[in-house]
Structure formats: C-alpha cells, structure tokens
C-alpha cells in the first residue's frame, strides 16, 4: 500500500430495519475511534441517493481512500456502493461491507448484544479494508450466441426473441419434437383458445428461423467456461432416420412389424405408436424417429428378412448405421427451460389411480378431450366393464400439491383453472353430464380467472369443499368418500369418471442439468433464482438464466413472460459483445512459489499451469494463473503450503486481520 489508509465508515439505519435493534449512533461513534478512520457517520438509508452522496462528498472532502459500509448483505448492495466509489474516482474495490442487517439486526433481539456484534463486525471490516488493494475489472469478448435448453413454450419464446434480436440461438430439445407440455394441451384457460393453434406457428417459426439452430432429439453433455464464453457439447441422438430424406409421410410407421404396439408418450399412454414414430401429427421437425429400445432390428439385430420400414420408405431415409454425434459450439449465455413433470398419482394410492382405468389425471383428460387425442376428442372411458361416455364426473383438486404427505408444500398454481376449464369442456361435449369439483379452496388469481371460475359455476359445475379421503369401486361406479367441510356432512358420491387435478413437480431428470450448470434448488426442489424478488430469472451463475416451470409452477402467460425476461437478460452480454470478468482472481507470488503443483491439481477450472522461469540463472517451475479462467474461489490458496497463490481481495493478509479483529474482543 503506497498511501496511508484514510477510512470512512458509514452505518446504515435501513429505516428501522437496523436501528431498531442496533444502536447505530453508538456504532458510528465506536468506528470513529478505530485506527485510520477519518470520518464515521450513520444515516437512514445509505443505499439511497443522498446516502451515497454522503459517501461521495466525504471521499472528495477528506480524501478518503477506503470505505466501510455497515448495512445489509454485500450480496445485496456491494455493487451499489462499488459504483458510488467509482463515480468519484476511487477504486471500487476499496470497499468493505459489514453485514449488520441480515446477519445482525434481523436475527438478534437484545439491543446490547446486537450493538456489540455490529461494532465487532465493523471492527473486522475496518481491519480488512485497510489491507485491500485496487483492482481493475477486465473485459473479454462475449460469444454472440445463446444456448436454450428445452423447447417447450418457454424455450421456444426465449429463442425467438433472441433470434429476432439478431443473435444465433442453439435450441436443444431432448425429445424428438419441440412443443413440450403445451403441445399436449387442448384448450387454454381462461380464454379457451386452442393450444395447438397458438403454439404450432411458434414451433414452426423456431424451426425455420435463420438464427435458430434447432437441435431436437439432443441432449447437452458438457458445459464449461463462463459468461460470454461457454463451451457447449451437445449429443445428437441417432434417429436412425436421415432427416434430410424423411418426408414425414408415415408409411414406415404403418409398415412397422410392431405397428401401434406401444403406448404413445404424447397421449400419456392412452394412444399407441409404432417402433418408428412421430410423437404427434404436428411434430416439429416432422421427421420420424426409431425407438432404439423397441425396434426389433436395433434390439435383436434382425427384423424378419429385412426391416419393413426400410422397404416401405420410398426416399430410403431409414439408416440403421446412424450413430450419436457430438456437436460443440460456444455461446455467451444460457437459458434453462427444462419444464416440469406432472405429479405421479400413484403416490396417492387412496385414489386408486393404478387400480381403476376411469380414474385419470388432468393431463390425460387433456388428451381425452383433444381433437388430436387418442379418441379424436370423444370423451370415452373404460369403467372396467365397457367403454362408456361418462355422465357423472368428479374432479379432485390439489392432488400432489399443498400436500406435505407427498413432500410438496407448494401450490401448483394451474390446477384450479385447468380443472375449471376441463369441467367446462366436458359440459360442452356432454351437456347432460353432472360435474363435481372437490376442492380445498379455489385460487383464481390471474387475469380473467375469477370471471372464468364464475362462468363454469353458472354452467352448473358443482364445487364441493372437501378433500376426498378415498375412492373405491361399487358395481360399475366409482365412489368418492369425502366430507363436505362447509356442511360438515360426510358423503359418498358415485361417478363414472374421476379426474385427479395432479400438480406440477420438478423434472425427475433435473439433477443432470443442475450438475452440468452448477445450479441450486429451492426447498421445493425447483431450480433456484438468484433473488426471489429482484432477480427472478437469473441464477447464481452469471450468464445462466431460468425460464418457465423449471423455476416453479406457472401458467402459460407467466411462462411466456419469464421467457421473454430471460431472453432480455441473456441478450445483455450478447448485445454488449463484452463481459466483465471478476478482478478478484488468484495471483501467484512467483518469488516464493516452490512449483509443487498442488494448486494446479486443485483448480477445478484448470486455470493454473506450471511454467518454467529463470530464477537467477536457475530454471525453476512456478505456477501461473489464467485470469480469464480463474473464478477466484481460493481453493488453491488454502492448499498452498507457502501461501504463494492468493485470491485478490481474499488474501491471507486481508483475512488474518479480520480474524484478529473478531477473535480479539474482551
């Protein structure tokens, strides 16, 4: 340090958030007496303009060269105050914050203790800030492209926005077609417009957009690098169909020896497909795929004399030699839009989902009423004896949501409304049907929701408040056992069909993406955003954003909104063309480095290498850091026996004084 440290200490009241528990006056008085402290103040809101002005003026007036702000968590306002310092020409890294809100005033009640602790925290901040060094944040070019993982409505929308802004997008979808869950839906609440009609055009746009490279039936294998410079490897799974030749005519599927033998995933298993298949008629790309687990030729090595599909395919698109291929590319930002799973109704055995064919899930109901569904839109159910058009239909709400017994405390946010919608559609298709909805309480919070809820009730849908305890069979009827909690009367109602309004859950295969991108999960196991209020589309990792239900249950408009938000955020580095890389990276003190290479083997980013240098005529090896790759975690430093590698702003000479300050209180 060249010049003598001149400190300013600023204690924030945060309204009364801090001052209610911490005697801020006492803290600033105390700070005033600490070594090198020129000025110490307290103020109602340090983060406000006047608050920042206070700091800036002092820096100018007293020539402060170090600033301590005792307020909220640095994870909240460090950038704010760094900027303030910078604005008056002080290096932004000459700032240290003492967290006296989240980690003091909010967690303690005893004013005396809290004040003492706050003083001590300021002590430590002062001790550290004196040792801080000026750092220069550096910039590197950002790859003008984005990766979008998942091609449901969220992924599609985000891709389109980024592509329309003029940047390259790699849209990766693991299933053979884009479209995701929305493609399975029939109508959408509350407006009842046809899901397919509004989605398919976007699917086609996404596939044809000049800036979008659609990688369907593909999975992200590897992601390395950092914001602006992610290196991505994607596995294109073999379809065993040459997509350049396939016309999507479907002759192969008809010809397949195992034609229509397998439950069709898209129809929730209610329809059938062949070993070579198109997930659904409007699939994009409209190319067939051979299911390697089902195809006789791929599983047994032979399929009659020769595979029928091969014979049937006029363009000769079938190619059993096809192999998975790995494509690699660089992107500047990543959007995760991996969507959700529906709750597995088998986890509520009392509802007999696995026992009775006429107990179905909401999503199955969607397929049942859908014109493109297995029954062509005709509502037909199997009551165990025959296929019938159900006349008495029940909906049970909150199956797998708001239910601790299955570990899902959250509300899935869409079930109330899709139930109302499906009830309406049933009334529409079977006018003489009686429809009852068993609910805990109805949440109709969205635009037009309440109105729609009223409408369906006017249409004669009966809402019964009660959480059914059991479903059993009596003759060819299903009996729902429930207590009507409004009239406190136990009842047993008979039905032909029971629809379980299953909730949304995190995808079972989320773990893969979590490990791939170092994401974290909220307690509800959905992917966690950087800040629940202020950074709902960001993740803790710069350049990686969340869109849609992977972050939590959402309806379509919310999903599209978040997708657009994620796209806008992802566009920032792309549009700027540059990203700032953190200046708080590790530095090697070559004079004392003994070249043992511990740091090299420790570094998870391969950011350190051994280089040979000339030390007084002797060639010796020392470590060297690639600052673009270093993330500043400091694991190398703690593993260095001569402490010759030090993360800037977290050096031993900066941390040890903190320890002394915190340890040495009488």
């Amino acid at each position: 340090m060249t010049e003598k440290p001149k400190l300013g200490v600023y204690v924030c009241h945060c309204g009364i958030n801090i001052s209610a528990t911490v005697d801020v006056e006492a803290v600033s008085d105390y700070a005033q007496g600490l070594p090198n402290v020129v000025v110490a103040r307290n103020y109602s809101y340090m983060c406000s303009d006047p608050g920042q002005l206070l700091i800036k003026d002092d820096i100018k007036e007293y020539g402060l060269n170090r600033v301590v702000v005792a307020s909220c968590s640095p994870r909240m306002h460090e950038p704010t105050f760094r900027k303030a310092l910078q604005e008056v020409g002080l290096n932004p890294y000459f700032l240290e914050m003492a967290n006296i809100r989240e980690q003091c005033s909010w967690v303690h009640q005893d004013r005396e203790e809290a004040t003492a602790k706050a003083k001590n925290l300021v002590d430590a901040a002062v001790a550290k800030v004196r040792m801080l060094e000026p750092l220069a944040p550096r910039e590197v070019d950002a790859e003008p492209a984005a990766l979008v993982i998942g091609a449901g409505i969220a992924g599609i929308q985000a891709s389109l926005d980024i592509a329309d802004a003029g940047f390259k997008v790699y849209l990766v979808e693991q299933s053979p077609s884009v479209g995701g869950r929305m493609a399975q839906l029939d109508k959408t609440f509350p407006t009842l417009d046809c899901s397919a009609c509004i989605l398919t055009p976007k699917m086609v746009d996404a596939a044809n957009h000049p800036n979008i490279e659609l990688l369907a039936y593909s999975e992200v294998e590897e992601v390395s690098g950092f914001v602006g410079n992610f290196e991505v490897k994607v596995r294109r799974k073999a379809r065993y169909v040459d997509v350049s030749k396939c016309t999507g005519c479907g002759d192969c599927a008809e010809a397949c020896r195992l034609a229509n033998r397998f439950p069709n995933e898209f129809d929730e298993g209610m329809g059938k497909r062949s070993a070579i298949y198109l997930p659904f008629p409007q699939a994009v790309p409209a190319k067939y795929t051979i299911d390697p687990e089902k195809c006789l030729f791929l599983t047994r090595g032979r399929c009659g004399k020769s595979p029928k599909c091969v014979d049937a395919c006029k363009p000769g698109a079938i190619d059993f030699e096809q192999k998975d291929e790995i494509v690699s590319f660089k992107v500047g930002a990543i959007i995760v839009a991996t969507g959700f799973d529906v709750f597995d109704a088998n986890k509520k055995p009392e509802y007999g989902y696995s026992d009775y064919p006429n107990v179905i899930t909401g999503l199955e109901m969607e397929r049942l009423v859908s014109a493109s569904g297995p029954t062509g839109g005709e509502i037909l159910v199997d009551n165990g004896e025959e296929k019938i058009v159900p006349k008495e239909i029940a909906f049970i709400q909150c199956v797998g949501s708001r239910d601790q017994s299955v570990g899902n405390e959250y509300c899935s946010r869409v079930c109330c409304m899709y139930t109302a919608k499906q009830a309406h559609l049933i009334k529409d298709k079977i006018p003489d049907a009686t429809v009852k909805v068993y609910y805990i309480d109805v949440r109709a919070f969205g635009k037009g929701f309440e109105e729609f809820y009223d409408r369906v009730r006017r249409e004669g849908i009966r809402y019964v408040r009660g959480n059914p305890s059991e479903i059993f069979k009596e003759g060819n009827k299903l009996v729902v056992k429930v207590e009507d909690t409004l009239t406190a009367t136990p009842r047993e109602d008979k039905f032909d069909l029971v629809v379980l309004a299953v909730g949304l859950t995190p995808r079972s295969d989320d773990r893969k993406i979590i490990d791939l991108l170092r994401l974290s999960q909220s307690p509800d196991r959905f992917l966690m955003e950087a800040h629940p209020k202020l950074r709902p589309v960001d993740t803790a990792s710069d350049g990686i954003f969340l869109a849609g239900c992977c972050q939590g249950p959402k309806d379509i408009p919310d999903t599209v909104a978040q997708a657009k938000g994620a796209a806008a955020s992802a566009l920032i580095p792309l549009a700027r063309g540059k990203v700032a890389i953190d200046a708080q990276v590790a530095e090697v003190i070559e004079e004392t480095c003994r070249g043992c290479g511990f740091c090299v083997s420790i570094c998870p980013y391969s950011a350190i290498e051994l280089v040979t240098v000339n030390r007084m005529g002797n060639m010796v090896e020392v470590a060297r850091v690639n600052e673009a790759l270093c993330k500043g975690c400091g694991s190398c430093s703690a593993g260095c026996l001569s402490n010759s590698i030090q993360p800037r702003s977290f050096r031993d000479r900066q941390i040890l004084p903190q320890i002394a300050a915190l340890g040495g209180i009488e």
């Binding site: 070594p35 004079e591 002394a660 300050a661 040495g664």
Partner: protein, 337 residues
C-alpha cells in the same frame, strides 16, 4: 577471598533462605535440563552435567519486551527491571560466557536491559568435578573451577560444599548465610584443588586455539567451509544454545490498537539473518553462515575485545544433529593454514 564450608545437612535450609531471593537452579524437565525458578520450600539437587539451555537465557531472555505502546497514546510503557535474582549451580564456563558477553553489551552503547539484569543477578557457581564428553574449557582459557564471572564458586566435596566468595555480591550472600556456614579448613581447600586437578585430567577433548584468529582471515575462500557446512541444517541449535552467542532481532508485535517492541534471539545460521529487504542476501548459503559463525567467535570478537568468544562448554558439538563438531572445525582450520 574467603572460603566457607556448607555441610550438606544444612543444604535445604540454605536453599530455603535463597529461595526468598528469586532463586533459579538447574532442573530436569523430561529430556532437557534447564534453569527453573525454585519456589519456597522446594529443594534443589545439583548433579553433574550442564543445562541444555545456558543461563544466558535469564540475563538475555529469548524474547524480551523493550516497551509497549498503543494507538493514541504518546508515552511508552517500559517494563520495570528491579527484581533481584540468584542463579545457583552455574557452571564456570557459562559464568565466563556472561563476562564475555558483557563486553558486547557495554561496547559502543550501554545496553540498559542486559546490564541492569546483570547487576541484579548473583551467580553462585558450581565447579565441575565430572566434566562432560565435549567439555574443552581449558582449551579456551577456562577451567572446571574458574571463578570468572561468578560471585561465589561452590565445589562439591561430597559431605559438604566449599563456598569461595569472589565478589562483594558473593560476600553479602555468605554474610546472610553465615550461621549455616563454617570456616573451611585447609584440607578442604586441598581437597578442592585435587578435585579440580582431577577434573582437568578427565577432560578428553580439546584443541589449542593458538594461531586460529590469525589463520581465519587467510582461509576466507578455503574449501574447508564448503566441506564443513555441507551437512549443516541451518538450524539455530548451535547458536541459541551457545552461552556466548548474543545476536538478536527487534520486532514489533501488534495486537489491534496495542503492541510491544521486543527483541528476540536471532541466529547467524538462519537464512533470513542477513537477508535484505531487497531480497538480496550477502550470506546466501550455509557456507557463508558457517564461516561467519566461526570467524565471529575466533576472529572478529578477538579483534574487538581481545578474547575468543567461546568458553568450550561443548554444547554445539554435543547437540548438533549432524555432527558439525566445533573442536573438529578448529582442528581443520589449523590444519588448513
């Protein structure tokens, strides 16, 4: 100089009286023998053999607070040095060493800390009847019964101790103890002479330092330094445990807003001993450091104070883990000239 006799039956009484005066005496602590305070009521058993850590540590503590300071306070706080101290069972070589070291602390500047302690300390020596393997005090101008630096010299006559007072300080002690003492008969003095003679004869090792001070400057670049220093670990055993080594370093220890300036033993065998702030080190290897250690004792100190800064206690030879043997070094030096 008066000679008195202390019958060993009165020993514990003698100790009892002394222990009121901040008495220190050799005590065995596990594998190591070092000076320890003698509390009232405790007794002392003086056996043969010297302490690992020389008594210099009591006059010239390994870590000594010079003064304390704290931020926002102008005045410095000095430690009070006023407690008298009696060292019992000091070997003649170690006492001589103190006398030698005093040259340094009185040289261009009177060191208040050392000299004050020296003044407050009374040294009651114990003649060596059974010299140790590496004792070679006679070679260095001392003897198992030398009184140099001592205030009283005791000799173990078996049944009793012979107390010979050397200084006024010694006299004062003997005065205080006189009802425990009796005049020493002539045969006691005779017996002591025999013991001393016998002790000198028992000394097996030695080297005549004649010519060494003159030879050393000629041998500056001699290969023997490389040979001698090659096994050296560069540790501080030989110097820290040498009764005549007095090098120190001064450092500030800061604790928050308070601190102290203290001096601590340093060793010319340490790499950082002569390391400059620039990183340059005029004594870059153990060769230069070893050469310095020997030159300092047998040449520089002689130039300055006319006496060799070694009393032949043999600690360095005995304790060096890699058998760098001072006696052997001196022989090599003589051989090389």
């Amino acid at each position: 100089m008066s000679a008195m006799l202390l019958n060993k039956e009165k020993w514990s009484e003698f100790i009892g009286k002394l222990s009121g005066k901040n008495l220190w005496a050799p005590a065995v602590q596990g594998e190591v023998k070092k000076y320890a305070p003698v509390a009232e009521g405790e007794t002392v058993e003086l056996d043969e053999g010297n302490t690992t850590v020389p008594p210099k540590a009591l006059l010239f503590p390994q870590t000594e607070t010079l003064y304390r300071f704290s931020t926002g306070k102008e005045e410095l706080e000095f430690p009070g040095l006023d407690e008298e101290m009696v060292l019992l069972g000091v070997r003649p070589c170690d006492a001589r060493a103190m006398a030698l070291v005093e040259n340094l602390f009185r040289w261009d500047f009177d060191d208040p800390y050392y000299l004050k302690r020296r003044e407050l300390t009374t040294l009651i020596g114990l003649a060596c009847n059974e010299p140790e393997l590496n004792c070679f005090c006679p070679s260095m101008g001392g003897s198992p019964d030398s009184t140099e630096g001592l205030d009283i010299l005791m000799t173990d006559l078996g049944e009793s101790y012979l107390l010979e007072t050397v200084t006024e300080k010694g006299k004062a002690i003997v005065e205080e103890m006189k009802d425990l003492l009796e005049e020493a008969p002539a045969d006691a003095l005779e017996q002591k002479e025999q013991l001393a003679k016998g002790a000198r004869e028992k000394i097996r090792r030695g080297v005549d330092p004649d010519g060494v001070p003159e030879a050393l400057p000629q041998l500056w670049e001699d290969p023997l330094w490389q040979r001698i220093s090659a096994p050296c670990l560069g540790c501080g055993i030989c110097t820290y445990l040498c009764p005549t080594c007095y090098c120190f370093d001064i450092q500030d220890e800061i604790e928050g807003s308070a601190g102290r300036r203290c001096r601590m033993w340093d060793s010319c065998m340490f790499a950082e001993y002569t390391k400059h702030t620039s990183g340059h080190n005029p004594r870059p290897t153990r060769r230069e450091r070893t050469r310095n250690r020997i030159n300092h004792k047998y040449s520089y100190f002689v130039d300055k104070f006319g006496v060799i800064a070694c009393v032949g206690c043999g600690r360095c030879s005995t304790l060096c883990p890699v058998n760098i043997d001072l006696i052997d070094i001196l022989r090599q030096v003589k051989a090389a000239q």
